[in-house]
Amino acid sequence: MRLILLAVTLLVVCATGIQAANLEDKVVEHTLKNGMKLLMVERHTSPTVSAWIRFRVGSVDERSDERGIAHLLEHMLFKGTTTLGTTNYAAEKPLLDKIEVVAQELTAEKAKRTKGDTGKIAGLEKQLATLESAAARYVIKDEFFELYSKNGGTGYNAFTSRDGTTYLISLPSNKLELWAAIESDRLQNAVLREFYTERSVVMEERRRSYDAAPENKLWETFVASSFLAHPYGQPTIGWMSDIENLTRTKAEQFFHSYYTPNNAIVAVVGDIDTRKTIAMVERYFGAIKPGKEVLPVTAEEPQQAGERRIELVADAEPTVIMGFHKPAVGTPDDYVFDVINMILGSGRTSRFYKKLVIEKQVASDIGAFDAPGYRYPNLFVVSANPRTPHTVKELEDAILAELDQLKTTPVAERDLQRILNNIEYEEARRMGTNGGLARNLTEYEATTGSWRYMIEHRGKIAKVTPADIMRVAGTYFTRENRTVGFITKKGGDK
């Protein structure tokens, strides 16, 4: 067994070498003097290019009075600069300043809750509305979007996670300079106009994505309950009262602390000439001053010492989420979890699918993944829906039986080989789209420290042994380390 595996491993390392040269050949890396990291791949399949900028700042970096600010700031950074999005910034600025004074006063009065002065609140609300409509006269609505769209840009968007914030666009390849011009302006001269209206938009986003969506509401509660000390527990969008108390001033402070060139990773993939692209990025971003080094989160989650059970009573059918604390991405045990994840949850040959969906039929669907972030110790999560008439308890027992089997029975060599074959396919497939490659380059560079993680991954997986899997399963899949969240149907089982 051991010998065969070794032979297979050697073979795979060879194959990995070839693939690695392929990706390594294609990625051109350049670091600006101000610390901005640029990663490029030339692909000439179509005359298009995708450009992604990732900032190493996410909701994990927020203090308790800032929860939700990374995400709200991401929304605000679509609003323009001192020259874009406005017809006359000099005239607009004094109004924005007044809005901020009134809005802060209003936010503070409302924060008194029942002790707030309702007359004062009404007066301030009126004053704010008047100022906002005066300022609105100078606004050119979403001019970034308008400029990109007219030029054929698609997929203009941004997303915020626990670990990072990313801004993305795809353009006809002759228009890449438009991206450099807009994004370098945004980084230096952003104006967070229309802040308090956008804050309301984010409250609607929260209602839509969490309050009125039972499975997501359970997810939010489950993650928050899994982390008592580490900020991974707080929802990226913020709790409703967090959002209600965010101000433009807080957002600007956050922006200046984290949106610095040394905290940015840029990927440009597509129909480009890498030499010209480097020159262009230098020209637009090179003069931006670096900011302070961003320090890692110091909070550490204390070791969990007993099962936590989280119930959500909702107008929805039952569902189960089960999580176990585990180390961060790139640690030795994390690679073992990657293997466990694929054995249990990936495809129709996975154990969960074969045993729980097909054989026992206790689940209608089931999956396994790591969450809520990667940079810091996170969770191995199993998420499943019981199939009626089976109960949450029966489904939990069936999941635990599969986890227990990993502790006692070595995984077959064919299962490990299948995983390697699938990673080999993924390595080829992920080279096939500009956006996908840009996403991977920025994501891995930011969370693991280097995009080369992608090259080394298959080799690391090939070294995982059946004994490693048994050890890791035995160490982490314990009752003490477990959190279980579930929905109980309103008016259903007590």
Binding site: E24, V28, H30, K33, T45, S46, P47, T48, L84, A136, K141, D142, F145, E146, L147, S149, K150, N151, G152, Y156, P172, N174, E177, L178, A180, Y196, T197, S200, V201, V202, E204, E205, R207, R208, A212, A213, P214, E215, T274, R275, I278, A279, R283, G286, A287, D315, A316, E317, G347, T349, K354, V357, S364, N385, T388, Y425, A428, R429, G432, T433
Partner: protein, 476 residues
Amino acid sequence: MKLLAILICLLFTSITPASSADHQPANPRTMTFPALDFQIPKAERVVLKCGMPVYLLRDTELPIISMTAMVRAGSIYEPAAKSGLAGMTGSVMRSGGAGGIAPEKLDDELEFMASAVESTIDSDMGTVALTSLKKNFSRTLQIFSNVLLRPNFSESRVEIARKQIIESLRRQNDDPKEIADREINRAIYAGHPLGAVPTFESISSITRQDLKAFHRRYFRVDNMILAVSGDFDREALLTELNSTFPATKEPSGLALPDVPQPKLLFQGEVLYGRKDINQSVIRMGHLGLNKDNPDIYAVRILDYILGGSFTSRLTVEIRTNQGLAYNVGSRFDIGRRFTGSFIAETETKDKTTAKTIRLMKEIIGGTTKEPVSDEELNSAREYMINSFMFAFTSPASIVNQRARLEYYNYPDGYLEKYRDNIAKVTKADVLNAARKYLHPDAFKLVVVGEAAKFDLPLSTFGNVRELDLKQNIPTQ
């Protein structure tokens, strides 16, 4: 190679200061760009000996081959009492084993090769799709042809699929957005197969024999188009396809049922679904038009201006100006075989529900009263023309698109003339299109939420019919 990359970086770091001195950063509003030569990529069309058309596009960037069969089948052909038959057939073709190979064995063989074969049947198309590393293509192709033409429909897998669908019906009212999306479609296409929704009874009545018969009737070599892209050798591929799909005499002639167009009835209706939530889900709309209508270009421009972009009228007013919603927009789904639909959607907190509905109807109605502005027209045209090339970014999307145009009988030159047709649209065309295809007074309006907390009663918008969201599905 790596060394070269480092050299290039060094070189450019030293050149940069000189270059930035004579090339100032440009103003995004006025900057100009080098010309870009974009030719619409073509795919080769070949006909196999059995008569099956195949679109081919070779591309060796990745060692992967992709293939899709588009089959003239769909839920439009299922009897009303067996609603769900097409979807279940599509699912069990793959999950129930094929070519005499048992389901578990098929799964194991495919996943060990990291190949995928998947089948689905939607409202008016059946598809079986393959992806495979080049080295595993031949074996994957055999499995593909078995799933396509010779599925086992294993009895136990039919039962599992049935239980799975019933479980999904049981869960179909958990998310209020899912309720609203389903109910607006059902209201718009009432009485037509496109508006049919599977029920516990219809799913329970479907037998293995029904699946086999449905499959046999439509999945035949004279009723499908193939699209292949990736790293293949043309001659070898054609030889392989000809031997995989030999010319065979079908026992009976192909008979596709006649499905009528939906009746063009425009009659307003208010549908209400009660859910204990703090945000209402709002959908409104009616029938639209199909691709054979010469007005589609004006309608696409109208669509972009009204609710199809981040700077559309609905988004700017309801989201950006008033902060009433995170998601708001509208869309003409231009039908390919059947009359399409127009649907506007948003979600807003309970106490701004009526205000938002009224505002949406006003904004939509506004397009029928005044012409759009020159800026709006230009923005829409420029976006559609300049972003056109994104429809052709991968070999698979290029061949699939060509096959789809043939499948739905698009006129010759549709893609080639598309940008010119968009460029020709005038403000008068857009106004005419709005007047012809938008009737806010005849909207089907669906609202899911807690009516007692709304700012105005829903009856403000017409007679309200409450939806029955109770599930009467037996537990076994």
